[in-house]
Symmetry: C2
Subunit: 501 residues, 2 copies
């Protein structure tokens, strides 16, 4: 490695260390911190973010990038160093348009907003949350104004989570998706009695749920020497380098799916972080970048594996053994049908695979309207409830089951929601391919053997970290760009079977 | 507040935020981090420490301090601002002699050393720990070489934990202490059968121990809204601002004292941090500074309260109720005598109040010899064992129960040990005074009411944070400087009673 690239890497390694320190502050806030620590924590996050931003946007970074780019000129454009320079140059160009003070304020608002949200959601009190949301949106407007050259304001935000994907493309993909989901939902509605999911509702002692989840995530690749699983209010996953992966979940003692599939989802994220090549560690390429690709991993493990027919052969007897009682005779086919019951409901993270995408489209539309100042934050609950009625045919009973259900807007994550449905589409493409590459996949999943799948994903997705964009990783893995068809084909096959459509 | 002081406070607030971020990285390493996260964590700690140091020793800090000192000229020297400037000036003068790179290396070595120590101690393998200790000592030598004007090398290190106290003074205090402890121990040895502590040994389910500890620390002032209690390998306490106080303990299912008195000890530290005046928050005065004063709090709660006769009236029935069995008839007098059994033993943190001080004196002597290059790290186990035999009459059976028992040297904390015995002496002075000021203290403790004592300590000690040095806080609280007599008088009264000397 040349002196110049070494110097750049040293500089970026320090920034990576600082970023992990900021992430630990966030992880701790959401899992461990006593409530009265919130005020100091917001200070700490703002300060670390300010320093991180100052150091990143410094002319020193620019100088090192330019020198390293010169050095890499003519080198293999796919080499780690060439990609490092290219990816960081793009991020640097974007970040340096933002004042460090604004970056700090955004971090502070996210920290403060999350505390306010936890409280407001518990009491279903949107009015208490309103001032935080209002100032959060104002900060986002200030952020958007830092940029030129984006087609829409929303593009600026989406670009932070899904670089290279534009709002217009997402809108087109979602329109295609929705056009197919609506008739599918209508067909299911006519056969709504076809699926009984009563086995998922009952009394599930936490202790036994933890045993079940520990077993399942262990099979996925959760390794206690480098992973943690903790409880939280809104589940998330975080990689602090591949030796320290933290996932979280929440539990419902009356509903089995919450803890189990939530943990599989987050473990899917964690496997991505844990699988990144060691050569990329302590560089900005050492974590996944495009959230849609990240979500493709969590959604695949949660739904295509966790709610798939083969793995039910493993799960059902395990559940029967652990919980006994009315579940002692639980059969795989009945369990499989239960976890795939399609039913419009209020909470996104508990939604079935069909309606889930409509939850996302609703949020995608509303947050564009907020960012485009077409609606105000005061109007948001009503706008939410109206649209919910029109999409799901359901009257939202309270804001906790409506506009207050997700942490994202409290944490300033506008532009994040569409990546969940994009994740479903990407997962559809990858799943089509993996089933060709691993002919014994079903047999393995039936037996509870999940490592062959993980290895395929590590080779084709995880190891690359942020070295390439999502489109390129998908193209390299499957030979095709993002599309609606593979996901719809998967979904129609599965749900059509369950409902005998 | 003037513009200048406001600017200084803003600058120092950022440094305080960064320090808390570094502390959270440490807390997490010792309580939560999966083992394979250790490599990244050492990087993170080194980087945050480097940045913190660079920003603190910058000429900007000097400029702000000078300007603020000018502003404070003529102001009340006891005002928060005048004290802030004075305390920070002294720390700045010391810190800027150290290269930031060395500060970063010390942080990295402490992080790496602790992981190595946990492993080496578990296997009682000093050889595995040796290279870490060697490089730790070399770093300390480099650190000492940054300074002039200290009488001895050890003074440089002691000054970090006990500003204004010098090695020669500590040596004199310890000589006086030892001169009295040795004959006291000899007298006790002749009556070694006088105390039966079998009630402390047996089977104590963790769950019940946790209930006991939760009750006791709750009575001391542990508030779940702003505190945490976690498990760790070597217990410690940490304040991240008064709204976030973290204490840790370890448990022994066969020995009741470990968890209970360990938690009371750390809670004593925590009360100090939690009690600091809100006006000092987010400044360098917002945590305790002199460790001897800090230890006076932990040792007082652990020993003068926890192992005192009055509180036994509360504890003994509580323990009888929780654990039942052979403890169902536990009487306060018997429990009190048991927890005050004096018996030379290997482990410092489990030692009685008499021999405890000898454990400290041994370490104080050995670490001076290490720092003065009178012994090498290779010779340390033998030196330890020889001296242990001569002080305690015991052959050390293995390094886990000898030189490897404490985390301090692994974490680079040379100069820290004497502050424990200094804490005993300071506690002696404060205890003498508090008993005059609170005539109902014994009655309160008998009834399990500990808040009057805490309020006294908050008023006379805690609230001041690092606003004054330990000597001045002690002088203001008691009217007298640090001395051996009050502690010895307390100890002779208590132990003399137990052993009918």
């Amino acid at each position: 490695m040349t002196e110049t690239v070494t110097e750049l890497r040293r500089h970026l390694a320090e920034l990576t260390d600082l970023r992990y320190a900021a992430q630990l502050l966030q992880w701790d806030q959401q899992t461990m911190m006593p409530p009265r620590g919130a005020e100091r924590r917001a200070d700490e996050l703002a300060t670390v973010q300010r320093i991180l931003h100052e150091r990143f946007v410094s002319s020193e970074t620019g100088r090192l990038l330019d020198a390293a780019a010169d050095e890499c000129n003519g080198a293999d454009p796919d080499s780690d160093n060439a990609r490092l320079v290219s990816v960081v140059q793009r991020r640097w160009e974007k970040a340096r348009r933002v004042p460090s003070e604004l970056a700090a304020e955004l971090a502070r608002a996210a920290s403060v907003g999350q505390e306010a949200w936890i409280d407001a959601r518990a009491r279903s009190d949107f009015a208490a949350f309103l001032p935080y949301l209002r100032s959060g949106i104002e900060l986002k407007h200030r952020y958007v104004e830092c940029f030129e050259g984006f087609e829409t304001a929303y593009d600026v935000l989406l670009d932070d989570y899904e670089p290279a994907l534009r709002t217009a493309e997402v809108t087109a993909l979602f329109a295609e998706l929705k056009a197919d989901l609506v008739p599918l939902l209508a067909a299911i509605a006519e056969r709504s009695d076809a699926v009984d999911d009563s086995c998922l509702h009952g009394s599930f002692p936490l202790e036994d749920q933890r045993l079940l989840v520990t077993d399942v995530v262990g099979r996925m690749g959760f390794d206690p020497a480098s992973w943690r699983l903790d409880d939280t209010v809104h589940p998330f996953a975080m990689g602090l380098g591949s030796g320290d992966v933290r996932i979280t979940t929440r539990w419902d003692e009356t509903f089995l799916s919450m803890g189990l599939f939530g943990a599989m989802h987050e473990c899917g994220h964690g496997l991505y972080e844990a699988g990144i090549a060691s050569e990329l560690q302590r560089t900005p390429l050492g974590s996944g970048e495009a959230l849609g690709l990240h979500e493709s991993q969590s959604r695949m493990w949660e739904n295509m594996v966790g709610r798939g027919r083969p793995f039910a052969d493993y799960l059902a007897p395990k559940i029967a053994e652990l919980f006994g009682g009315s579940l002692s005779g639980l059969d795989p086919e009945g369990f499989y049908r239960a976890v795939n019951r399609v039913q419009p409901s209020f909470i996104r993270v508990e939604a079935d695979e069909v309606t889930y995408n409509l939850h996302i489209i609703l949020r995608f539309e509303l947050e564009q309207e907020l960012i485009n100042r077409e609606i105000t934050v005061d109007e948001l609950p009503e706008a939410w409830n109206e649209r919910f009625l029109s999409y799901f045919g359901l009257e939202v009973p309270d804001d906790a089951r409506g506009v207050l259900q997700d942490v994202h807007w409290a944490a300033g994550l506008f532009g994040y929601f569409p990546t969940y449905a994009i994740g479903n589409l990407v997962a559809g493409g990858l799943w089509e391919r993996v089933r060709v590459d691993l002919p014994d996949l079903d047999a393995h999943m039936s037996a509870g053997e999940l490592l062959p799948l993980r290895e395929w994903l590590r080779e084709h997705v995880h190891q690359h970290g942020a070295k390439w964009g999502a489109a390129e990783i998908l193209e390299r893995a499957t030979g095709a760009p993002i599309a609606v068809a593979p996901f719809l084909s998967y979904l129609r096959g599965k749900i059509g079977g369950v409902y005998a459509l």
